[in-house]
């Protein structure tokens, strides 16, 4: 039972971090849009330059190193989640 709640809690923290990262990079993002299938290109004000700010926000919110990653508008939030899952922890500068 405890494991189940922990998993739910962990998922909810990750979702909050993701929403926070999106909103910090794209302030006009409406949280009700949030689904794993949402394509990055459909986020309001998404463009390649802002995508770098989004990467920085993901690094800060998930404490991971995404230095070699470039995102594009055809990727979904699920794709981003997979990238985060497979990334290395951020090194302290």
């Amino acid at each position: 039972m405890g494991g189940y709640f922990n998993r739910i809690l962990k998922r909810s923290i990750k979702m909050n971090n993701m929403i926070k990262a999106i909103k910090n990079a794209f302030p006009d993002f409406d949280e009700s849009q949030y689904t794993g299938d949402l394509m990055l290109g459909d986020i309001p004000d998404w463009d390649s330059m802002n995508s770098v700010n989004f990467l920085n926000e993901l690094e800060d919110n998930f404490n991971v190193d995404l230095n070699d990653i470039i995102l594009n508008g055809n990727q979904t939030l699920s794709d981003v989640a997979a990238i985060i899952k497979n990334s290395n922890p951020k090194k302290n500068k």
Binding site: S48, M49, D68, I70
Partner: protein
């Protein structure tokens, strides 16, 4: 009394010495650095020294402009400074330029139409001259955006550079070379939030700031891009139609240097050859309202324009605002 024309008799510009290349922007992931040139055309930009302020850039551009005509600053009737990065909230930055260059007989004031400001300044000066209110007006556009940019924001920081440009306009009884034929000024305040520095004014005073990033310049890049292409091409076509100008008569398009891809799109939409578009964004970045006057100075070399050549200057920016002017040689 016969008709009075406004004639552009000299140009000048000043770029700070310090050149910063894209690869020197080490705060951003190296994998993303190539995006800067790819998406904007910018390779380098000039950044002012800490001791320099906006008026210092404007003063140098003013000196260079007056020197070309060997004109004394005391002969000026007015100085109009376009800037959206003033020395201080008050007084007008133009007044420091006025006193430093010794324009003792000129009144001086600032205008803020963000990146369209250089052309707004020409439009206002043209009206002052044609109405007989002034004989000689110096229009300066100076911007030092590096002070207002968030060094961590990839969607703004790489775009901008610092610089200043100036044009000298004079009343003329004849339609000689460099006549201002027509200027169109436009605005749409419903887009006021698209390009802005949120804090520091009366809407969000410094003492009420809760988000530190509100002190920095921000823009909604995608919307700015679409706006610039639509309004930039529309106003060029409007100006050509209202002045009866053909594409063949246009020698140069001196457009706001925001992004090389915007210039390409405007070229495509208007059907005007891209070769006619002056490009400085690659080496100076976006110098806000200074960009059109700097670009005009780059092509203002003796013999570069012959009788009958037409130059269209066009700009678009915060406000939202957009503007265009046609100069005939």
């Amino acid at each position: 009394m016969g008709e009075i024309y406004t004639r552009l008799i000299a140009t000048g510009s000043y770029l700070p010495e310090r050149i910063i290349s894209n690869h020197e922007l080490t705060q951003f992931p190296q994998a993303c650095i190539k995006l800067i040139e790819e998406k904007t055309g910018i390779k380098t930009r000039r950044i002012a020294e800490q001791a320099e302020c906006t008026s210092d850039l404007g003063i140098q551009a003013a000196y260079r402009c007056l020197e070309k005509r060997r004109m004394r600053a005391s002969d000026l009737d007015a100085i109009i400074l376009s800037t959206s990065s003033p020395d201080r909230i008050q007084p007008a930055t133009a007044t420091r330029i006025q006193s430093t260059i010794g324009a003792i007989n000129a009144f001086a004031f600032d205008i803020n139409s963000v990146c369209s400001g250089g052309i707004y300044g020409i439009g206002i000066a043209d009206s002052f001259i044609k109405s007989g209110f002034c004989n000689t007006v110096l229009v300066i556009a100076a911007d030092l955006y590096s002070r207002f940019l968030n060094p961590e924001d990839f969607s703004t920081f790489p775009y901008f550079g610092d610089g200043a440009g100036a044009v000298l306009l004079e009343a003329s009884p004849d339609k000689k070379d460099g006549i201002i034929i027509k200027t169109i000024l436009m605005a749409d305040g419903s887009g006021a939030d698209v390009i802005q520095v949120p804090a520091g004014g009366t809407k969000l005073p410094f003492n009420l700031i809760t988000e530190s990033k509100d002190v920095f310049f921000k823009m909604k890049g995608k919307r700015v891009y679409a706006f610039a292409i639509e309004k930039g091409s529309e106003i060029i076509s409007m100006l050509m139609s209202q002045t009866g100008s053909s594409k063949e008569e246009i020698k140069y398009i001196v457009a706001h240097q925001a992004n090389i891809n915007i210039l390409r799109e405007i070229s495509s939409l208007t059907g005007i050859d891209f070769d006619k578009f002056v490009v400085t964004v690659d080496k100076y970045g976006n110098t806000a309202s200074a960009s059109t006057l700097i670009a005009l100075d780059e092509i203002s070399r003796p013999g570069n324009c012959s009788h009958g050549d037409k130059i269209i200057m066009v700009a678009f920016g915060g406000g939202l605002s957009w503007a265009a002017t046609l100069i005939e040689y």
